[in-house]
């Protein structure tokens, strides 16, 4: 596309820039007039919230890095220095630390929204795959960030997670040595984790950009899971959804603030107040709460390699979810059986989370095996078969119908395209 943009902006400065680089036109098209299904519920806030959360993490992280020392002998003390001496250092750190948990809360809800309303289905498969990539990047970033304070849980978490790779035959041990840059988790490990922890958010930002571009090609899904059929089904993004997102943002910031100002260490582990000690492992090694279900899957299998493969598999299976779910109907509202089973899957993830927080003995071993079995059963058996067997409820003729009133038409009624006002 060579040629100047014919800008419609009145302001001469904006117009001058927009003629040469049409970013104002782009913003107007993608965030101003962008036609968005008019029936969003508040679950559609969480993409925007994740974006804002990423910004909060990057900004606080940059300022924390100004005072942090990525050196095994200085790291722990430099974090205490941030907490005690740096102006508002306590605020920056608590926002960053709890921001990681908020980020996972937001992203887990965002993923649930996609699964419940079938947003991953044709034509949004690639959009979904970018999302799974983002989840993996977030996990890597948060894991390496958790190592940086160099407390006991940082050190032993890093040791346990990097040792996962030793499960692979032949290449396992060289890979672990390579990850460590030595023969145990030590200063070289801390240095590279700091470097990568600073890098990956920018990678996340880039993939998020692709994620959003893909979204703006396909358009958003909606709670009914049916396609937009006419302009009557949509609203301009601004002001309708900027305002709706703002309401969600206020609630999100409120919850965030409650964590930061009243329970800043609620989700942290007391062991991380003890400086890293390579000669003593804490009694219970527990990952951060957002890794607990995956940790439970890892421990549910008595075989080392088997556990590691299942744990990685629990994320990998998400990549092929669009093809495992064979039902052409997106929204769970019109899938009476799926609508119940998705909650059973959520329960299995919750049970796995509780199992991950407890020692792997007695009832917890049994529960984590049942949970793991159901986790994979849902994706690998139930979804492919359910799509063939389930009889979906009749879909509404258009998004406008149930919004304005009238409800779903009887199945088979000819769909009449709405006329533009």
């Amino acid at each position: 596309m060579v040629g100047l943009n014919k800008s419609e902006f009145k302001n001469p400065v904006v117009n001058w820039i927009d003629t040469r680089l049409p970013i104002f036109t782009m913003m107007q098209n993608e965030y101003g007039a962008f036609p968005t299904p008019k029936n969003f519920n508040y679950l559609w806030n969480f993409g925007a919230l994740a974006m804002i959360n990423l910004m909060i993490m990057m900004v606080t992280g940059v300022f924390l890095a100004m005072n942090y020392q990525p050196n095994a002998t200085l790291a722990f003390d430099s974090v205490q220095h941030i907490m005690r001496d740096v102006n508002y250092g306590w605020l920056l750190r608590y926002v960053h630390q709890n921001g990681a948990s908020m980020f996972f809360i937001v992203v887990f809800v965002h993923i649930f929204r996609n699964m419940y309303y079938g947003s991953y289905k044709n034509p949004r498969e690639l959009l979904w795959i970018f999302g799974v990539v983002l989840l993996l990047l977030m996990m890597a970033t948060s894991f390496m960030g958790y190592v940086l304070p160099w407390g006991q849980m940082s050190y032993w978490g890093a040791t346990v997670i990097t040792n996962l790779f030793s499960a692979f035959p032949v290449v396992g041990d060289p890979i672990v040595t390579w990850l460590w840059g030595g023969f145990s988790v030590d200063n070289p490990t801390l240095n590279r984790f700091f470097s990568l922890h600073y890098l990956l958010p920018f990678v996340i930002f880039g993939v998020t950009f692709l994620h959003v571009v893909a979204l703006h090609i396909t358009g958003s899904n909606n709670p009914l899971g049916i396609d937009v059929k006419s302009p009557q089904d949509t609203l301009p993004f601004h002001p309708y959804y900027t305002v709706k997102d703002s309401v969600g943002l206020c609630v999100y910031l409120l919850v965030f603030a409650i964590f930061v100002f009243f329970w800043p260490n609620l989700l942290g582990d007391p062991n991380n107040f003890i400086p890293a000690n390579p000669l003593q492992t804490p009694a219970d090694i527990v990952p951060e709460w957002y890794f607990l279900p995956f940790y439970a899957i890892l421990r549910s299998v008595p075989n080392k390699l088997g556990g590691v493969c299942l744990m990685f598999g629990s994320i990998a299976v998400l990549f092929v979810l669009p093809w495992l779910d064979t039902s052409p109907v997106r929204s769970a509202r019109f899938r009476p059986i799926f609508r119940k089973l998705i909650w059973l899957w959520i329960v299995s993830v919750g049970v796995l989370g509780v199992c991950g927080a407890n020692k792997p003995e007695g009832i917890w071993v049994v529960l984590s095996r049942v949970g793991t079995a159901y986790y994979f059963l849902h994706f690998l058996v139930i979804l492919p078969i359910l799509g063939k067997l389930e009889r979906p409820l009749p879909l509404p003729e258009s998004i406008s119908r149930p919004v304005i009133g009238g409800g779903p038409l009887p199945g088979g009624a000819a769909a009449k395209p709405m006329e533009k006002v």
């Binding site: 606080t60 102006n87 508002y88 920056l92």
Partner: protein, 186 residues
């Protein structure tokens, strides 16, 4: 955009509508909120409490012979402590204040009864270099005090600037005599 549509339905163009007011209030609220969030970030770059904490240094004066000076670190800066000779004190006191670039009497730069000791922050007031002349072997300039190698500023035996480009005298840090042979800087 807003004013045309709002004006069309609520009044003449140029009228202030309720929507304009709400937008202004919401915008101002968001701006104040953003500024309130930005302040902790900006302030975190200011000196931290451990840096601000008044660090002090004690100096034993007994080893410093007449005519000699020592350099020590205080708050990350060099501090000159010089044991002046009788001649140097006399030179410093004899100067007409009118001749000075930054007029200040020698009495105001030393402690009463301890005129032989001059304590200065050893940073040239021009662009922050460290002047030479604290040791007798170093270049002291035409006024026998200190000489800045960067741009040729010269200071007399009281640390007062006598030759530009420096605009001001070498600073005297806060210090006190704990005994006749010991001072505490800071």
């Amino acid at each position: 955009m807003a004013d045309t549509s709002a004006a069309a339905s609520h009044g003449q163009p140029g009228d202030v509508t309720k929507r304009d007011f709400l937008k202004l209030v919401a915008g101002a609220g968001a701006a104040i909120g953003a500024a309130a969030m930005a302040w902790p970030l900006i302030d975190s770059m200011n000196p931290s409490k451990d840096v601000l904490a008044m660090s002090s240094v004690e100096v034993d004066l007994t080893p410093i012979a007449v005519g000699q000076g020592i350099t020590l670190m205080w708050r990350g800066k060099p501090v000159f402590v010089r044991h002046r000779t009788e001649q140097e004190i006399k030179d410093a006191e004899a100067v007409q204040l009118g001749q000075l670039i930054d007029p200040q009497a020698d009495d105001a730069r030393v402690k009463p009864g301890e005129k032989q000791w001059i304590v200065l922050v050893g940073i040239c007031t021009h662009l922050g270099c460290i002047p030479t002349g604290n040791k007798p072997t170093e270049m002291r300039g035409d006024w026998g005090g200190w000489f800045c190698p960067c741009h040729g500023s010269q200071y007399d035996t009281s640390g007062r600037v006598r030759h530009g480009p420096a605009p001001a005298n070498l600073a005297v840090p806060p210090y006190a005599f704990e005994s006749d042979t010991k001072i505490k800087i800071g």
